[in-house]
Every structure is written in structure tokens, then in C-alpha cells.
Amino acid sequence: MLDLAVETLRPKSATEVVGLVAEAGAAGRALEIVGGGTKRRVGGGAGGDALLSLAGLSKVIDYAPEELVLTAQAGVKLSVLEKLVAAEGQMLPFEPPHLVKLLGAKGQPTLGGTLAANLSGPRRIRAGAARDHFLGFEAVTGRGELVKAGGRVVKNVTGYDLCKLMAGSWGTLAVLTEVTIKVLPAPRTELTILLFGLDDRQAGEAMTLALNAPAEVSGAAHLPPAAAGRPPLKGELAVTAIRLEGFAASVAARAESLVTALRAFGRAELIDAEHSREFWAQVREVQAFQKDARPLWRISVPPAAGWRVAEALGGEAFYDWGGGLVWLLSQAEPAALRAAVRELGGHATLYRGEGSAFEPLEGPLARLTARVKAAFDPGGVLNPGRTMGA
């Protein structure tokens, strides 16, 4: 739910968003931009003198399954889109996590919020991130100008690819009002290969072996014993999971060769499509870490270095993206944690806990980042509490 303490602006159109942003800019007021408001707490909040809710811009504008393209207003709920595309046998390829429970939030995430946070699920390793499926947009910059970029077709290199800049900008550059994304046919079936009792390093090696085989692995996750022992799995052993998706004959053939290739890692168990879907929904939502008071970090590192994160930092880890994404419950001092992660070639974002969420940047990159921010939002009208590294 949105704060009742501050005023909430609820525009019904992009034109109204233009007016509200321009007005705020002229009055020297800052706005916190929210879709469903489910990620408000990340980094201790986005700040602002008023909330600007995109919930009133929730229409699907065009969905042409045969073109693999969907255009909608930014405030459309993810769950609505997921149902819509599923009815056509399609999917949002980047498997967006909702993270509502993980973040202790209520309500439902929107497409705009998901793109603004560039949130991608387990399939990221194969299909790419939210940013890879973000084709075009209309948005209101901090200058109060309505701009469009990209297009409504799947292939386009006309002008700068500002979609990439919007993805992961957490609403600090512009307020997305309308977006176009690429969709894909949903896999006909899936199965998951489970390995048990591996330590983090062995699991890393098993995932690398699977990802380097011609098996088109679409998910590779590892739950160490502590994470696997929590609900919902409540297992006794660490679980390492490899997902295969596609046409039945292909999935079966790939599973057979992969199980053979993974023999050195012990007994493999195959779980069917229904259980596989359940399992990966838990991975996507980081279900094992939903109930814990410790700060939660989302750490991106080169996949082969994933297992070193917990080794270097302690705390409790959960690995996705073949080791490239580490969710870490840790009470380590933030600066020390970030330094250790940088040492491994990655960066850390604080998803749950007090303090700045984003990796601080330095030198020319920090200055360039500040100039990019100023290009879109020179007055600091949008999400003033979120500083993207500079």
C-alpha cells in the first residue's frame, strides 16, 4: 500500500503525467514514482514530496502474438500480462520475479516498475534480461517532456537505444508511461535435473558443466543446505537444479545427455513439468529468504565466481543464474561487503535493509552517470532518494 502520509497523485494519462512532473519541477518539489509500490523499500525508499502513481495507466494497447510484440501502459499489472500472453501460448521471456513477499510489500508489481528495475528471473541466463526485451517506450522526463524512443517492432537500431537506459534506472530519469516489449512462445514442456549434497564450489562446477554443454539450459540454481532446509523445500541436503525447456523430444534428449555428463556429481533426480514450474517459481521469488530479519543483498558476479561470495563474506547464500546471481543474507558492513564483491568482479545491491541500495561508482564513470541523470532530470524531480551510483 502507498503511504498515506504524503499526497498521492494519480494521473490517468501521459498528458496528466507531463503536467504533474512539470508542476513539481516548477515548484521545486520532488516526486516518488510508483507503479504497484511493491519495490518502494529497496534502498530505504525513493524519497519525494509526493507520490506519483502510475496505477491509473494500466491499459494493454496492442498485443499481436504473431508479431511477438506487446504494447501496454506502464501501470499494467504483471499478473494481468502473464495471463494475457499465457492464453496465446506465449510468455514474458525474462521471467520477471514479483518479489512482493520478499520485500515485505503488498499489492502487485507493474510492467513499468519491473522494467525500471530491470528485474529478470532464472531464465535470464538463456533468454536475456528485462532490458533485452524492452523495445520501445513513451515517458515523461524530469524536465516534464513527453518523449518516445525505440519502436514497436522486434528489430530496430534507429537512434540511441534509450530503452536500455530506462531499464534499471529505477525511475530516476523519466516516468515510463507506455512500453513495448518482446514476447516469445512459451516452452511446451520443461523438466529439472536435481543434484544433492554438493558444496557451493562443486555446485558451481556442476552448473558450469551444464551451461557449457549444448543443452540449452534455461535455469541453473543452487540452494546450500541452510537455504534448502528452509520452507518450502525443508530438505536436509543442498540442492542444485538445472532446468531444460522446449519441445518434449528435445527436452528428453537433452536431459539424457546432461544426466550422463553430470554423473561425477552423484545421483541425479528428474522432476516433471509441474514440479519443475513450482520449484523455479520458488527460486524466482527467492522464497527461502522471504522470512529473515537480516539485510538481503542481490549480488551480481561472473558466474564462475559465485561460490566464492559466501566463502569471502559468510552469511547465507542462494545462487541463481549459474552462480552469476547470489542472494546473500548478511550482516557484514556494507562498504566491506561491496569491496569484497568488487574484488570478485561484481557489484551488490541492497534489496532489504536500511541504507543506500546501489553500488557507489567512482571516477569518470561516476561523473558520466551524473551527467546522464542531469540530461534527463536536471532538477532532481524524480526519485531523489535513489542515487544510481553517483
Partner: protein, 493 residues
């Protein structure tokens, strides 16, 4: 192009000497004969001799050259292999060409992280060449892949026939090092996913050399599929071929490649390479399926059935690797094949919603009649990226102009039916003046402010992409409320 600055032209000797101090040895070309090879890129209708060419070998030299040029107000045009089809590397009379050809080393292959770190002058195909023995490859495969460099691919966000399934350059990069016009060196991304801060890697990719000079690239490597099969599907009409493409995708099949050729393109290709294409067909689809043998077998049977249901007159599936390559030979040679039937051709590049294909092809044929010029169409049918090849003769007065006007009309049509000006070749100088068809002044100003954040003096590759150059100060005006600007610590320009 921006009018040359006579003061800079007059200082040519000084500029060459200064650059020679920064890049000693054979690193600077200033003599008229030596400059000739750099006059144009793949869009050879445009030519311009630059002031000088500098060929650095290290990031430090690139940094020193750019910093010196910025300090002295000298414009810089970065260049890879010079294969751009939109004039991205077209020199400026009063500018320096920064050639990156000497950055030709593969620095690291990291299979554990499925990536390679390479210098920008490495050719696209050489990356795959370095890793294919180990079962890996780099996916984007522009037709010029034997010559084009990865640095140029980053600048243009290049595609290729396999990008339907595997994405464009932007989807296959993990990181890069760039040098800003100020000489500052910035690393974007690395070997992990989704770098910290804004996705500047994503913005630099496809920025056509306007934002920074790429000095190192980290690319994703993919595992080679176990098998690949190609299919030739001939149809009596473009509509039937187009409908089959829709049916294939509706059946949940995303082929590795899905190409269409119209009758003039089929005939030209067949006459050139004898690939066995059906010369009675009005439209030909080439469908490539890859993955495990079981998948290729199942899907090729399914695609064949869908094609027959739409009345396909030819349905052939490759039975061997040699046959698969033969099926592709005609398509890959389509441009030179068209070059045999016409003294000159002009390759266009627009994207349309696929359902608009029959309408757009009919219109293009009609326009060809009106302009009195022939046209052959090859088409990345899976993603709607159209490549009409306009046939003309540069020796006949007025034909080049007619071909350019015809091309502009095609691109306007692409935009009018809901598509875009360029699918994979970039805007460059070629489509610069058409940007207004897609974007209004506010949209373009927003893009140009990004340019200002990277290159406030507009010295890097000016005259490309944007129809009008605005001074950054003019774009950067900020509304000031009661004399106070919020966030005074933020830099402004």
C-alpha cells in the same frame, strides 16, 4: 555534413605533427595517397578525404589522441573495418579518422564464464574462429562478418540472419571499455550480468560512434548447437510465404534463421551460385532449425506440414551439412548476385510489422515502376527486417538520385505502417534526414542530451544520426525556480 572549419584545414600540418608525437612510428597517415583508402565506407556513394588518419595501438594512445583533439577542437571519426552501410565511418574534411584496426588481439577466452575479452579490431568471424574448436561460437553474424570488426558491431548494434533466436550485438555483450572524447577511460559492465548503475553499455551499443571509442569488448559465447538443418520452402505468392512465417511462430517455433527472398532475388542468386533454388517460385523461405537431432527432426516435419498447408510448391530439408550450407549460399550471396545483374545497387534496411509484408512489397514494386528502377527483396522474415536492393546505374544521369529518393520513400513507408527506419544498418549519414519521420523535436533533443553527457563539444562523429546539431548549452537549459536549482551539485551543460 557540418561545414569544414577553414582554420583547422589550414592547421593540417600542425595537427599531423601533434598526432605523430602521440602515436609515433607509422601511426599517422597524412599524405594524400595514403588517405585515399579511408575516403569512404560500405556506403560508397559518399566520399570525403579526411584531414588525417591516426592508427593507435593502445588505449593510452586513444585517450591521448582524443584528449588532444578535444582540447584543440578537432573532430574525430572512429573507424573499424569500414564496412558500414549507412556511412557511419564517413570522414570529415576537417576531421581526423581514428582507425582501430591495430587493436586486433583476442585478450582472453574464459569458458567458465562463457565469454571472451577481445580488442575492437578483431573481426566478428575471428571470435568464433578462436573458440569453435572447443564447441563455442559468438552468435551475431552480420553478412560482412569476415571483414567487419567487433568494435564496429558494438557501434552499430549489428544483427545477422541468426538474431531472431540469438539476438543482436546488444544482447550478446557483457562489457566494454570506452574512451570518452575527453580522453577519460570508462569500463562498462564486465563478466557478470547487469552492471551497476545505468546501463551505459546498452546506450553505447548502437550509438554509431557518437558517444565513445570502444577499446575493449567482452562478448558472450554460446555453445554450438548439436545439429542444424536448413529448409527451402518455395511459394507461389509472397502472401503464402508470409502467412507460413506467421504459422511457424504461432506453432511456438522460433527458428535460428528465417529468411525470405522475392522472385528477382531468387533468380539473381540462382544464376550466381546455383544453390538449387526453385526458379518458378514467387517467394522463397529459408528456415534454419538448430538444437538436438530429435528437435530438428520434429520441428522440420512440423514446418514442412505448415508450409504445405499454405500451398508450398517446394519443400526441401537439408540432409547433410554440405546441403545446409548450399541452401544458405544463395542467400548469403544475394547482394553480390544482385551486383551481377545491375551495375549498381542500393541496399536499404527498414523494419516493419511482419503482417504488413504483402502490402509493403506490393507498394515497393509499384514505386519501382514509378521510379523506373528494378528492386530485389531479401528479408529477415522472422523479425520483419526488410532489405530492398534498388537496382540502378550510377553512370546514367539522375539514377543515383532516383535510387536515393526511392529508398527514402521505402523507409517512410516502413515508418507509416508501424515500423522503423533501420533494423540493423544504422542511421549514419544515409538516414539522418529521415529521423524526423519517426521522432519529433522533443524526442531528438532528448537523444542529443545523451550525446551531450558523453561529448559536450560534439566532436565525436558529428554529422551522423541527427539531422540538426544543437549546441549542448542550448539543449541543457533548465527551468530555474525562484533563482534556485534543485541539486546544485549535479553538473549541467
Amino acid at each position: 555534413m557540418p561545414a569544414p572549419d577553414p582554420a583547422l584545414l589550414a592547421k593540417k600540418a600542425q595537427i599531423v605533427r601533434a598526432l605523430q608525437r602521440l602515436v609515433p612510428g607509422e601511426g599517422v597517415v597524412g599524405d594524400p595517397a595514403g588517405l585515399v583508402p579511408f575516403q569512404s565506407d560500405g556506403l560508397s556513394a559518399y566520399r570525403q578525404t579526411p584531414l588525417a588518419v591516426v592508427l593507435p595501438e593502445t588505449t593510452a594512445q586513444v585517450s591521448a589522441v582524443l584528449a588532444w583533439c578535444q582540447e584543440n577542437g578537432v573532430k574525430v571519426v572512429p573507424r573499424g573495418a569500414g564496412t558500414s552501410l549507412s556511412g557511419g565511418a564517413l570522414p570529415l574534411q576537417d576531421g581526423v579518422v581514428l582507425g582501430m584496426a591495430k587493436f586486433n588481439r583476442i585478450l582472453e577466452v574464459d569458458y567458465a564464464n562463457r565469454c571472451a575479452v577481445v580488442q575492437p579490431g578483431v573481426t566478428n568471424l575471428a571470435i568464433t574462429g578462436a573458440v569453435e574448436a572447443d564447441g563455442f561460437y559468438y552468435a551475431p553474424d552480420p553478412s560482412s562478418q569476415v571483414a567487419c570488426t567487433i568494435g564496429g558491431n558494438v557501434a552499430e548494434n549489428s544483427g545477422g540472419v541468426h538474431c531472431l533466436k540469438y539476438g543482436l550485438t546488444t544482447n550478446n555483450l557483457l562489457g566494454c571499455e570506452i574512451v570518452l572524447m575527453s580522453g577519460e577511460v570508462v569500463r562498462l559492465g564486465g563478466k557478470g550480468f547487469d552492471a551497476a548503475g545505468y546501463d551505459l553499455l546498452g546506450v553505447v551499443t548502437g550509438s554509431e560512434g557518437l558517444l565513445g571509442v570502444v577499446t575493449e569488448v567482452t562478448v558472450r559465447l554460446l555453445t554450438k548447437p548439436q545439429t542444424a538443418r536448413a529448409m527451402l520452402l518455395g511459394f507461389g505468392s509472397v502472401e503464402a510465404a508470409g502467412a507460413t512465417v506467421g504459422d511457424v511462430i504461432a506453432a511456438g517455433v522460433i527458428p535460428a534463421g528465417l529468411e525470405m527472398m522475392d522472385r528477382p532475388a531468387i533468380l539473381a542468386a540462382e544464376a550466381f551460385v546455383g544453390a538449387g533454388y526453385p526458379t518458378d517460385a514467387e517467394a522463397l523461405l529459408i528456415v534454419e532449425l538448430d538444437g538436438p537431432e530429435a528437435e530438428c527432426a520434429e520441428l522440420s516435419a512440423q514446418v514442412a506440414e505448415l508450409a504445405r498447408a499454405r500451398g508450398a510448391t517446394t519443400v526441401r530439408t537439408s540432409e547433410s551439412e554440405a546441403e545446409r550450407l548450399a541452401f544458405w549460399a544463395g542467400r548469403k550471396a544475394a547482394f553480390p548476385a544482385v551486383g551481377r545483374i545491375s551495375p549498381d545497387y542500393y541496399c536499404m534496411d527498414g523494419t516493419i510489422p511482419r503482417r504488413q509484408l504483402p502490402h509493403v512489397l506490393t507498394q515497393i514494386t509499384q514505386m519501382g515502376l514509378e521510379y523506373g528502377l528494378g528492386v530485389a527483396n531479401v528479408f529477415h522474415a522472422g523479425d520483419g527486417n526488410l532489405h530492398p536492393l534498388i537496382l540502378y546505374d550510377a553512370d546514367k544521369p539522375g539514377q543515383l538520385e532516383a535510387a536515393e529518393a526511392f529508398g527514402a520513400d521505402i523507409l517512410k513507408l516502413c515508418v507509416a505502417v508501424g515500423g522503423v527506419l533501420t533494423g540493423e544498418h544504422g542511421v549514419g549519414v544515409e538516414k539522418r534526414d529521415l529521423m524526423g519521420e519517426m521522432f519529433n523535436e522533443t524526442d531528438l533533443a532528448c537523444q542529443q542530451r545523451v550525446k551531450c553527457a558523453f561529448d559536450p563539444d560534439l566532436l565525436l562523429n558529428p554529422g551522423k544520426v541527427f539531422p540538426r546539431l544543437h549546441r549542448c548549452a542550448e539543449l541543457g537549459r533548465v527551468h530555474v525556480h525562484r533563482g534556485a536549482v534543485a541539486f546544485p551539485e549535479l553538473p549541467r551543460f
